[in-house]
């Protein structure tokens, strides 16, 4: 399993890997927002956490469709399916590798982008923390979509369409927790803990669904 993790990480670093593309996309999305809403620093500070979250959500979905499709195209998926190792575990490890390669860079880049958005220290810290907890959930539930659309030649857009409605709770509680941290009366912990719970829940349901879909899709 560690071998699989190492291989997927290596693959994402090599040419054609998606590790950097996600961060670039994230930065670009966040960078174009001020052009849309205007350079008002107060407004940007207010909507900043939401922008970062939406940017991270979209960037996490980017490249998710290749998670299993690349394995299927070169025949590796067949061999992964045949092993004694439970497929759910294999899928879980692949998700983990995908998150380390694409999700974690987003989390690391978010404080920098927070500065661009004129957010204060608390807001930046809260956004980074919630992204750290929330982006794995998006990857896990996205894996279910990727497994379902694995056999489709142009599954990329479809994966996003299928996954986005399911990811709404993550977005809601992620952003809620950030705003709760900034605005005094609302407590930070409840939404944050729900976000953690969502993460754990998706960490189970995503790989299970993806594994079932992969088994059924093989032919």
């Amino acid at each position: 399993m560690i071998a699989l993790l190492a291989r997927d990480l290596k693959l994402s670093m090599r040419a054609g890997g998606g590790a950097l593309i996600g961060v670039l996309f994230f930065m670009t999305v966040v960078a174009v927002i001020p052009f849309g809403v205007g350079p008002d620093l107060n407004l940007l500070a207010r909507i900043g956490p939401a922008i970062l979250w939406i940017g991270a959500l979209l960037a996490s979905l980017l490249g998710l469709d290749r998670l299993f499709q690349a394995e299927r195209e070169d025949g590796s998926l067949d061999l992964l399916l045949m092993q004694e190792t439970p497929l759910v575990l294999t899928v879980f490890v692949k998700c983990l590798a995908h998150w380390l390669a694409t999700g974690l860079p987003l989390v690391i880049a978010s404080p920098l982008l927070g500065l661009f958005m004129n957010m204060d220290e608390v807001a930046i810290g809260a956004t980074t923390l919630t992204l750290l907890v929330g982006t794995p959930a998006i990857t896990f539930i996205g894996a279910a979509g990727a497994g379902i659309a694995v056999a489709l030649p142009r599954g990329g857009l479809l994966v996003s369409i299928l996954v986005l409605p399911l990811a709404i709770p993550v977005l809601i509680f992620g952003v809620s927790a950030v705003y709760a941290a900034i605005q005094d009366p609302a407590p930070f912990l409840p939404p944050f803990l729900i976000l953690v719970a969502l993460n754990l829940f998706f960490a189970v349901i995503g790989p299970v669904a993806a594994a079932a879909a992969l088994r059924l899709s093989s032919d």
Partner: protein, 253 residues
């Protein structure tokens, strides 16, 4: 089609598409008739009922809106049960049932959204409010559309059925979470003045037409569902015949 072997003795006999088609041929005129009668009574009562003292005429929208919203959820439940049938019992009719239900569900959800919006304009002064219910119904609508898109994207019906079955079940598990989170989000942002549909009690004068309309809509769903399933079975038979034709042409050559 009068051989005794086609008689349906057990529920599992419905697994046979031919028997199912025979049953549909008998049942659907009755279902359709019942639907028409219920709608006649329901619509009459809806229009005959008194105006609400607050909402006036617009209360009648409720007689369409609430049943449609109820069906948007029931239809997903039917699809989830069918999805179980596909994955657990590998029942070919379950594939057909789930596939036939998706556009119906999308349709009823759209009706619920449109009527909700029509009702909202005079009540709330705007076509759309990010109210918890409207929002979760809208998300449900998006999920229906995603399912339809997935079904259309795959050309092999058996595989499409399995893939959508998994998606349906994942969605089914997630719907309560989405609903819960949308409500949380809503209480966080909502201005307190929005009028809610669910008053403390519903007057019986409104309840009866509403119940009958809900029943009529449910029957309408079953009629359409059964007919859509019949069409889908016939469509697959045609596909099989075409494939046979292609193969026998290849052999003759």
């Amino acid at each position: 089609m009068s051989e005794p072997s086609l008689a349906i003795r057990k529920f599992s006999d419905l697994a046979n598409p031919t028997r199912f088609l025979a049953l549909v041929a008998i049942v659907w005129p009755w279902l359709a008739g019942l639907t028409v009668c219920l709608f006649a009574v329901g619509l009459y009562l809806s229009f005959a009922s008194v105006d609400d003292y607050q909402q006036g005429q617009t209360v009648r929208i409720m007689y369409v809106h609430v049943p449609a919203a109820w069906l948007s959820m029931m239809c997903y439940t039917v699809m989830a049960l069918s999805a179980l049938g596909t994955l657990v019992w590998r029942h070919p009719l379950a594939d057909v049932s789930a596939k036939a239900a998706a556009p119906l569900g999308a349709g009823f959800t759209l009706v619920a959204l449109i009527t909700g919006s029509l009702w909202g304009k005079p009540m709330w002064g705007t076509w759309w409010v990010w109210d918890a219910r409207l929002t979760s119904v809208f998300v449900l609508f998006l999920m229906y559309l995603g399912l339809i898109a997935l079904n259309r994207a795959m050309d092999d019906p058996t595989r499409a059925a399995k893939a959508s079955a998994i998606l349906i079940l994942v969605g089914f598990v997630n719907i309560p979470i989405i609903k819960f989170s949308v409500e949380w989000w809503n209480t966080l942002h909502q201005p307190a003045s929005v009028i809610r549909m669910d008053g403390p009690t519903i007057d019986p004068a409104f309840l009866w037409p509403l119940l009958i309309m809900a029943f009529a809509f449910t029957m309408l769903f079953f009629t359409l569902h059964v007919l859509a399933m019949r069409n889908e079975i016939l469509r697959r038979r045609i596909a099989v015949l075409r494939r046979h034709a292609a193969r026998s042409a290849g052999e003759a050559a």
